[in-house]
C-alpha cells in the first residue's frame, strides 16, 4: 500500500469510527498511531503517543483556552445576563417584536464576556423566554431568537472558536478577536432585521410591551457598566498590546470572578461548579487537540493535505467556487459534529488550500466561525437548539427549529456580505 493510499484509508476509517460514535480524540489518536506505525514502524508510533500528550498538555499558549472558558463560566454564574436583558428590554420592549430584538442585543452583550455559544444560549434562554411568553410572543420566534442569538457567543470576542483557530494556524489570537467584532455586530443586526421583517408581516408574533420612561431606561443601563468595562479592559488590553491573549484571559476570568462575588451570586457550590464545568470542557478540547496532533503528524507524512492543495490549484477553479466547496463541507460536517471538533479536524487539512488560494486567514477564520455557528442551530445535531430545549422542556423541538429558519437566512446573508466586502473583517485588525 502506498503512503498516499494509507492516508486515504486512514481518513476513511476515521469517518467510519466517528459515525460509530467513538470519541473524536480517541479516534484521531488511534488512527494517527496506527498510520504512523504502518508507514514507519511501531516504535515511531509509540514515541508519538509518548510525546504529543506532554507537549500539548503542558503548553503555555494553550492555557488561554481554560482561562477564557472560566471567564465565561463566572459570567454565566454571576447572573449578569439578567441585568443586560432588563436594560435592553427597557430600551426596545415597546417596539413590535422588541423583546425578541432585545434578546439578540442582550446575547451580543453577554457574548462579549463569554466565549461559548452554548453558555450564551443557556443563560439567555432562562432569562428571555419566560419574559416573551408573558407578553404572548410566538413560541417559535421566542425560542428561535435565543438559539440564534446564542451563536453570537463564538463570533463576538472573546471566542473559544477563534482561540482554537488561532492556535491551529498560528494566526494572532488578538487579531482574530478584533476581526470578529464588526462581523459579530453585523450578524446581530441582521438577526434583528429578521425579527423586524417577520413581525412586519405577522404582528401577532411579537406584541409590543408597555413603554418605559427615560429615567428607567438610563437607570437600567447603569447596571451593565461592570460587564462593559470588563469587555473594554480585556479587548482594549489585547488591542493596545498591554497584555497577551493568555494574560487577558486570566484577567478576564478574574474580573468576572470579582463581578460574580460582588453580586453575591457565587456560593462555594456554584464556585466549584464553575471550575468543574471549565475543567471538563478543557479536558474535552485538549483530548481532541492531542488526538488531532497525532493524526496530523500522520497526515503530513502521507502528504495528502499538500496533494489536495496542489490538486485544487491545478484544477484552476475560480476562488469563489473553492470557497463555496469548503463552506459546503463545513455545513455538512456541522450537521453531525460538534463545532470545535470540526475545526480541530478540518483546519489542518484545509489550511494548505487556504494558503495556496491566497485567502486571507483572518477573513477565512471569520467565515468559518459563522458557518460553524449555522451548524449549531441546524438539525439533527444543533447543539444550541438542544440547550434551549433543556431550558424550556415543554416546547417541542420542531417549534424551535421552525423558529430558527429566518435566522439561518440572515446568517447566509451575513456570510455573503463578508465574502463580498472583506474590509468588514480586516478593518479593525489592520489598525492594530
Amino acid at each position: 500500500m502506498s503512503t498516499e493510499m494509507t492516508g486515504v484509508v486512514g481518513i476513511t476509517c476515521l469517518f467510519v469510527f466517528l459515525a460509530f460514535r467513538m470519541h473524536i480524540g480517541v479516534a484521531l489518536a488511534l488512527i494517527g498511531f496506527a498510520g504512523i506505525s504502518y508507514i514507519i514502524d511501531l516504535d515511531a508510533g509509540l514515541n508519538l503517543l509518548g510525546m504529543v500528550p506532554w507537549s500539548e498538555g503542558s503548553s503555555y499558549t494553550l492555557s488561554v483556552i481554560p482561562l477564557f472558558i472560566l471567564m465565561g463560566q463566572f459570567a454565566f454564574t454571576s447572573g449578569i445576563s439578567q441585568d443586560i436583558y432588563k436594560a435592553v428590554h427597557n430600551w426596545m420592549g415597546h417596539l413590535r417584536g422588541g423583546l425578541a430584538m432585545a434578546t439578540i442585543v442582550a446575547c451580543s452583550g453577554f457574548a462579549a464576556v463569554c466565549g461559548s455559544s452554548l453558555a450564551t444560549g443557556a443563560t439567555m434562554a432562562k432569562v428571555a423566554i419566560p419574559e416573551m411568553e408573558k407578553y404572548g410572543y410566538d413560541l417559535s420566534l421566542a425560542t428561535g431568537c435565543v438559539a440564534a442569538g446564542g451563536t453570537l457567543g463564538i463570533l463576538i470576542p472573546p471566542s473559544i472558536g477563534f482561540i482554537i483557530y488561532g492556535i491551529l494556524t498560528e494566526e494572532s489570537i488578538g487579531k482574530l478577536f478584533m476581526a470578529g467584532i464588526i462581523p459579530g455586530l453585523l450578524l446581530a443586526f441582521l438577526f434583528i432585521l429578521a425579527i423586524y421583517i417577520q413581525c412586519l408581516f405577522r404582528p401577532e408574533m411579537g406584541p409590543k410591551a408597555e413603554p418605559t420612561t427615560w429615567k428607567v431606561k438610563f437607570k437600567s443601563l447603569y447596571s451593565t457598566w461592570t460587564m462593559l468595562s470588563l469587555f473594554v479592559l480585556v479587548m482594549g488590553g489585547i488591542y493596545f498590546g498591554v497584555f497577551t491573549p493568555t494574560e487577558a484571559a486570566g484577567i478576564g476570568a478574574f474580573g468576572s470572578f470579582v463581578i460574580a462575588v460582588a453580586r453575591r451570586k457565587l456560593s462555594i457550590a456554584t464556585f466549584i461548579e464553575s471550575l468543574l464545568a471549565t475543567g471538563n470542557m478543557t479536558a474535552m478540547i485538549f483530548l481532541i487537540i492531542i488526538g488531532a496532533n497525532i493524526f496530523s503528524s500522520f497526515l503530513a507524512l502521507t502528504g495528502i493535505p499538500f496533494m489536495l492543495a496542489d490538486l485544487i490549484v491545478e484544477l484552476a477553479l475560480p476562488r469563489m467556487v473553492i470557497l463555496m466547496m469548503i463552506i459546503l463541507v463545513f455545513i455538512l460536517l456541522g450537521c453531525v459534529m460538534d463545532c470545535y471538533a470540526i475545526m480541530i479536524l478540518m483546519v489542518p487539512i484545509l489550511f494548505p488550500i487556504i494558503k495556496a488560494m491566497n485567502f486571507n486567514p483572518l477573513w477565512f477564520g471569520v467565515i468559518m466561525v459563522i458557518v460553524l455557528e449555522v451548524g449549531l442551530i441546524t438539525p439533527p445535531v444543533g447543539l444550541n437548539v438542544f440547550v434551549i430545549k433543556g431550558a424550556v422542556p415543554d416546547v417541542p423541538l420542531t417549534t424551535i427549529f421552525k423558529g430558527v429558519w429566518p435566522f439561518l437566512i440572515a446568517a447566509v446573508f451575513c456570510i455573503t456580505i463578508i465574502i463580498l466586502f472583506p474590509e468588514i473583517v480586516m478593518f479593525l485588525p489592520s489598525k492594530m
Binding site: 503517543l49 509518548g50 470542557m281 479536558a283
Partner: protein
C-alpha cells in the same frame, strides 16, 4: 480480550436470579468505588485552574504596577495546564463531556448499540493504556536526565508522572464504562 470472565464468575451466570442480582449489585458497588479517583483528581484540577488564574493576574499586576513580574510564571503556567488537563481527563470521561457524534448508531438495535459502545470504550482503553505506559517511560527517562525548564529549577518529571497517572485514571474510567455497559446488557437479558 478484556471482557467478562473476570467479572462474572460462571456460577452466577446460572439460573439463580437472586444470586445473579446480588452479583450485579456487587459489581455496581465496585463501579461506584472506582469512580472515587477521578472525582478526587478533579478537585485537584480545580485548584490548579484557580491558581493559574491567580498567577496570571499577579504576574500582570506585578509587571505593570511594581515592575516585578514573577520569575518563571511562563513555566509555572505550563505546569498548571498539565495538572489541569490530566486531572480532568478521567472526570470528563465519567461525566461524558467528551464529544461524540450521534446519528447513525441511534438506528441500530439496542444490543448492537451496546456492542458498539463496548468496542469504543475498549479502543479508548487501549489508546490510553499506551499513552500512560509511554508517559511513565518518559517520566522515568526525564527523572534520570534531570530535565528542568530554563527559568526554573523545578524538575519536570513529577509533572510527567502526573500525566501518566491522569491518563491511567482515564483508563480506569473507560474500564468503568465497559463494566457498566456489560451490567446493563446483562440486566436487559435477564429481564427479557
Amino acid at each position: 480480550m478484556l471482557i467478562p470472565p473476570l467479572i462474572f464468575p460462571s456460577e452466577h451466570q446460572k439460573n439463580n436470579i437472586e444470586e445473579q442480582s446480588w452479583g450485579l449489585m456487587n459489581i455496581k458497588n465496585i463501579i461506584n468505588i472506582m469512580g472515587i479517583f477521578s472525582y478526587l483528581l478533579s478537585k485537584l484540577g480545580c485548584v490548579a485552574l484557580f491558581a493559574m488564574m491567580g498567577l496570571t493576574v499577579i504576574d500582570v499586576v506585578g509587571r505593570y504596577a511594581f515592575n516585578s513580574p514573577i520569575l518563571g510564571a511562563f513555566e509555572i503556567t505550563s505546569f498548571l495546564v498539565s495538572i489541569l488537563v490530566f486531572s480532568f481527563l478521567g472526570y470528563a470521561q465519567s461525566q461524558k463531556a467528551h464529544v461524540t457524534v450521534d446519528i447513525l448508531v441511534n438506528t441500530f438495535s439496542q444490543k448492537a448499540q451496546f456492542l458498539v459502545k463496548l468496542f469504543n470504550y475498549a479502543v479508548g482503553l487501549f489508546i490510553m493504556i499506551l499513552i500512560s505506559w509511554k508517559g511513565f517511560e518518559k517520566a522515568i527517562e526525564s527523572m534520570e536526565t534531570g530535565d528542568s525548564p530554563m527559568n526554573l529549577s523545578v524538575p519536570i518529571h513529577p509533572f510527567v508522572f502526573f500525566l501518566a497517572f491522569g491518563c491511567s485514571i482515564m483508563c480506569l474510567e473507560f474500564l468503568r464504562d465497559i463494566l457498566r455497559t456489560i451490567v446493563k446488557l446483562r440486566e436487559k437479558e435477564t429481564n427479557l
